[in-house]
Symmetry: C2
Subunit: 362 residues, 2 copies
Amino acid sequence: MTPPYGKHPATLVRQERPFNAGPPPERMRADFLTPTGDFFVRNHGDVPEVDAEAFRLEVAGAVERPLALSLADLARFPRREVTATLQCAGNRRQELVERKPIPNELPWGLEAVSTARWSGVALADVLAAAGPTGEARHAALAGLDETERHGHRFHFGGSIPLDKALAPEVLLATGMNGAPLPPVHGAPLRLVVPGWIGARSVKWLASIRLQAEPSDNYFQRVAYRLFPAHVDAGNVVWEEGAMLGELPVNSIVTAPRAGARLPAGDVRVEGLALAGGGRDVARVEVSADGGRTWRVARLGERRERWAWRFWELKLELPAGRHELVVRAWDDAAQSQPADLEQVWNFKGYMNNAWHRVAVEVG
Amino acid sequence: MTPPYGKHPATLVRQERPFNAGPPPERMRADFLTPTGDFFVRNHGDVPEVDAEAFRLEVAGAVERPLALSLADLARFPRREVTATLQCAGNRRQELVERKPIPNELPWGLEAVSTARWSGVALADVLAAAGPTGEARHAALAGLDETERHGHRFHFGGSIPLDKALAPEVLLATGMNGAPLPPVHGAPLRLVVPGWIGARSVKWLASIRLQAEPSDNYFQRVAYRLFPAHVDAGNVVWEEGAMLGELPVNSIVTAPRAGARLPAGDVRVEGLALAGGGRDVARVEVSADGGRTWRVARLGERRERWAWRFWELKLELPAGRHELVVRAWDDAAQSQPADLEQVWNFKGYMNNAWHRVAVEVG
């Protein structure tokens, strides 16, 4: 299969092969549920061709009853739905790149975050059928897509701790926004892990292995680790990096765009906020002076536990240059750090510094 | 009953009546479990005299079977234990007070945080016996201690959402560190809500009411709300403040003390870190130059899910003045804000700004 995979014409394509793309800011609030044609794509390999008839999901490792489930077998489990925002750990990397180059990583702007209604079956129900044994602590996941690193070719994978794997919101999804899951989003089967970095929502999922330790897949063992700001590619000790999991609280301005020229008077500022790990967004604050003074934005209702919240604020701005800034707070009184310096890491993950947008008025 | 309630002689007493006190920094790491004589006390009223024979815990509201349980009735539920750190929402208020006065609130230093092994029964088991009905969304809690605000005398109280009330870590505690719960810590019965602000761990707990809304007790409805930095006592809209719940990630230097004069050479810096809501501490970073450059501290093992972690770092410091700074990261890549300005709120809650300690070497 080849791009553009039915993506909306306005889609920002960061990379053709593997295909990596997402919606431009002006389409990010098209609807509370991101239209499937806009939903961001983060792939590490080509979209695999999967024979739905022959497809089997293997459940193995520390289980009483290893399983090899066809799609028909999976369809016999109770049907579940969850509305969840997925966000790539590398979202907003572009801002870090402007500070210092980050080689070999995609320079995501704001677009690697989207929300969909997922349907399928609960991973917990399938794991219950397999019967986890006492040694099971992590669910190691592997997809059918292939990638290459340092001369080795292997399947994309990763893992989540067993307690998250057993949580009711984690789905083996076959549907997206009321239609069958498209190939570019992981058909015939993807995991959806609400509240966690997108990398754990493994697409083209074909293997689940319960085990005592996290997956030794490259994307768990080496990539998707968070290092301190003073660590660089040259002085890294991989074990010192923390494996990424839940997302931190984050927020962005989707309108106006950076560099916009606006007429003087009322300016409607709008954007998104997202709290990680099932927490709620408690408050969104907007500054029109680079972060010196703040006002509370109008926060849209919490429609779904695992999804983003929209916010907006009308500001009256005099002529001149203004730096609009947004920061959100989660319900644990946790907010975003002011400076890129604090969140800097040489892989460019988890940028949740205050989001700044410079505009010109008048 | 009257102070000092068997407290360690070094205890810092912030207020005699009601009694409010905690351990000085040099005793905060006396052991992984805070000795009961050191454990901080945050009381809003006098310690009530409770007749253990006559005592009943009422469970009422949206339940199938209202209960009035004696201590003997409670002892028939399965015995549970949890090691949990409790922290007052007002801990580290002193640093905020130095920036701007905060009237009518205790100027806690670092001492309103402690860890104990709690024993008792699971609140979930007791609620299951009562049978929550479909309307139940919050567990409203009330203690036997009395306080006065604005001319009204009432019992201390608050609430937690039902999903937290049903979580296995939430205990109705009758024991602390292997001994009966002392009166000043809530005997005969206190709730222990790990990962949440201390105020929800209601002492002398006598009433649990399941209901659709949070408690309308003053300490839920009015106090323990987090307001933006620009809100002051004069312009407050209570509903705009977010009710506090889970704790944010936080860390402090316990040694050396602020203002210490140290000999030149190796300095051992040590302290505590705590992640809220069951999250883990992923990393602790220490700066010896006010936050310009950072080093990773040695983090003690995660001995208990709901407890703090100790950390330490040996630094070689040349003669002169140094500002030691600590900041922790939780496992959702969430860290502490650099400045008190960001966490400022006129009630002085939830200060988790970088902790700074100025020392003089040589």
